[in-house]
Symmetry: C2
Subunit: 421 residues, 2 copies
């Protein structure tokens, strides 16, 4: 991997006004003057995407029977990043640097045609790389792409992180993501003041943490970084660079291969998400295909199910089936169940949004026994009951009463020895 | 010219908010339901382009020795029309119509690479026409184009009118321009309340009137309409359409070939412009090449000179040379003269911005004698002295003291029989 190229990504807060754009430009300039070939991926000004989305909402959805309007939604919403890309290029030139912007359709950042939530399919790096070889800083609007048919697409919320990683993969170089936090923490410092910044975290851990509620990076961007082996560093754009534009040594968190992490930990982080809902079907028929019927219907309606618990019901010949979904899918899922209540065969449905999912994540779990016991003991010591559990090779999640969420996070943070001194 | 296609153009006021966009959409829908194949060209929301330009100004000009930043200016500023094009397409779909937006680079609207003031070179109409043949309303952002090298350009202020005419030429159809006035008037109704709306005006007259200060249409758009013989109608988007979306009969002004105008007039309009400055070089050498020296230097600095008067000076062997420029070029022109004062050879320079140009325009002048006398007598009757004159086949302009501008407009409007009853 050539060390002379680097992708920098700045989020909406870092692009919030001209003064902040100048601050970002100083960071870019320092990297360029240090001999790096730099590509910069930018978000829209903070708040701008919301404004554009509100306008598209006001313009209204497509009338029945006509093609979905998401393609025009993308035309409107993609404009926010076009503006900041042009402004950053202008600012860099004003500082004496050679820069130009590259729209998604100019590179091109090729995506599928799932407008509003498109996935990047290919980013040819040749033209961009040649311009950088010729001494030009490339400024790329994040979040946007183009279909093979030449229509503008957007990648969905947080998509600029994914754009940055995709450009880095195309250029075969690392990616520094400047955001409003100074790295990845063992847990949310707003919940536990003893949270510590991690110097390094593995792709696998970061992926779990992103999925489980850590909002530092979009999950898809971590997946892509892991698949393409792009080293990603998360940094704060509010750390004051010195007069040459350099940041303090050791800033941020590097997301990298597990092998590159020297300090071994059993658990790297504790996450918490309130974006959960619990749905219980009481008195479900104990036909062996009943749960399959439920989950097939949910899958067909694109409702993702996370945890599943089946327990004995009071009524003979029936069970209770509990599952969790994302909160925004809960009412749709419940409606779907009610519509097909007879076909599925259950007595009653209950929906509870007053729940939280607390998780511990760490690659060290693979080789350590007793991780789960530590968790259950720590929760029991605080009187926290759990309603469901799910595990993977490197994480354990429990669903608990939302009122206990912060308490549980702090208890687990201490129990796994993550508290800073 | 197939009568089943039509280009509609809406300016920034008509795109000012979602409610106004819906009003524009109702006009589009009425034309579509009346059987027209419609393409719509839109400006950015009123005020938006100014905001974007202010941001580019804040980001600063390019540092010395680097390429001009106008290409990135265009990236930023072109985004305003992208937003309204997407929003109008969404709104039309919401009304049950089939519509999609076409960016400048998608059609493509090919321009030269004079960023910030690009000229349209070619608009292939095949793809757009095919989509319209297939029943789709095409929504096109005005003001923007793309170079053959694939970079975004803008056409300069008022460029959306030119976009609309160019699209109409490509589609071989007429163009209705919806704006905040209800047509072309014999003079500015804010100056002379007896001004009348013209039902028809020739390309040549409209071109002179646009150049001479009538702000209804951008000059370039009229040139293009004349060259391509595109019938252009100017209409108010604030006339309330009836419930089917139809406008009152006889609305607006049609700009067309002279032959299509039945009602013959000697003078069609009186215009006034304060965007003038008068520069006088006193005691200029009477060398025969001295004026050529002056005007060559001005031309090389891209200063357009309008009127020129040379008169005898007091000093033997010298003349006084007076010329007019656009007001925004005046200080630059004066500076240029001062820098080369010795080489050119003159004693003193005077700059007067307190002047106005009043003009009468009409194709009838070609075949009528006495038009100039009427003008001079009308001005003399009111005690208005003129400082310079310029004429073309179909217009006479005089430069006068700015204080007399409105008085002169009203006097000429009456003298040529233009006052409404």
């Amino acid at each position: 991997m050539p060390s002379d190229r680097l992708v920098l990504k700045f989020g909406g807060t870092s692009m919030g006004d001209l003064e902040r754009i100048r601050r970002a430009a100083r960071i870019v300039a320092a990297e360029a003057r240090a001999g790096k070939q730099v590509a910069v991926v930018v978000s829209a000004m903070a708040g701008k995407t919301n404004e554009l989305v509100a306008w598209t909402d006001g313009a209204g959805p497509a009338a029945a029977g006509l093609p979905l309007s998401d393609d025009e939604y993308d035309v409107v919403v993609a404009s926010g990043e076009q503006v900041t890309a042009g402004l950053l290029a202008l600012t860099l030139r004003n500082m004496g640097l050679n820069a130009r912007s590259w729209m998604g359709w100019q590179i091109p950042i090729l995506t599928d045609d799932a407008h509003g939530r498109a996935r990047i399919e290919d980013v040819p790096g040749e033209v961009l790389g040649a311009a950088m070889d010729a001494g030009e800083i490339a400024v790329v609007p994040g979040f946007q792409g183009v279909t093979r048919g030449g229509r503008i697409t957007t990648l969905g919320r947080g998509g600029s992180d994914t754009s940055a990683v995709a450009v880095a993969a195309a250029l075969n170089c690392p990616c520094d993501i400047y955001t409003d936090v100074d790295g990845v923490y063992t847990t949310d410092p707003r919940i536990e003041s003893r949270a510590r910044k991690l110097n390094r975290v593995s792709y696998e851990e970061m992926l779990e943490m992103a999925s489980l509620g850590a909002k530092v990076l979009q999950t898809r961007s971590v997946e892509l970084a892991m698949a393409k082996r792009v080293p990603v560093r998360v940094l704060s754009s509010f750390v004051e660079p010195d007069e040459d534009g350099y940041l303090p040594a050791g800033a941020g968190t590097l997301i990298c291969d597990e092998e590159e992490i020297v300090e071994k930990r059993i658990v790297s982080g504790v996450t918490m998400s309130r974006d959960e809902a619990r749905i219980t079907l009481l008195g479900l028929s104990d036909r062996t295909d009943a749960p399959a019927d439920v989950f097939t219907r949910l899958a067909e309606a694109s409702v993702n199910v996370d945890m599943i618990v089946q327990s004995q019901a009071r009524t003979e010949g029936t069970v209770n089936l509990t599952f969790t979904t994302g909160r925004r899918d809960a009412s749709r899922a419940a409606e779907l169940m009610r519509t097909h209540q007879t076909a599925i065969g259950f007595e009653e449905i209950r929906v509870d949004e007053d729940v939280a999912k607390v998780s511990v994540v760490g690659v060290g779990m693979r080789s350590h026994a007793g991780v789960a016991q530590t968790m259950f003991r720590a929760l029991a010591d605080k009187g926290v009951k759990f309603q469901a559990i799910s595990t993977s090779e490197i994480k354990i999640s429990v669903l608990i009463d939302a009122a206990y969420a912060e308490l549980a996070v702090r208890a687990l943070h201490a129990a796994y020895g993550l508290d800073g001194v």
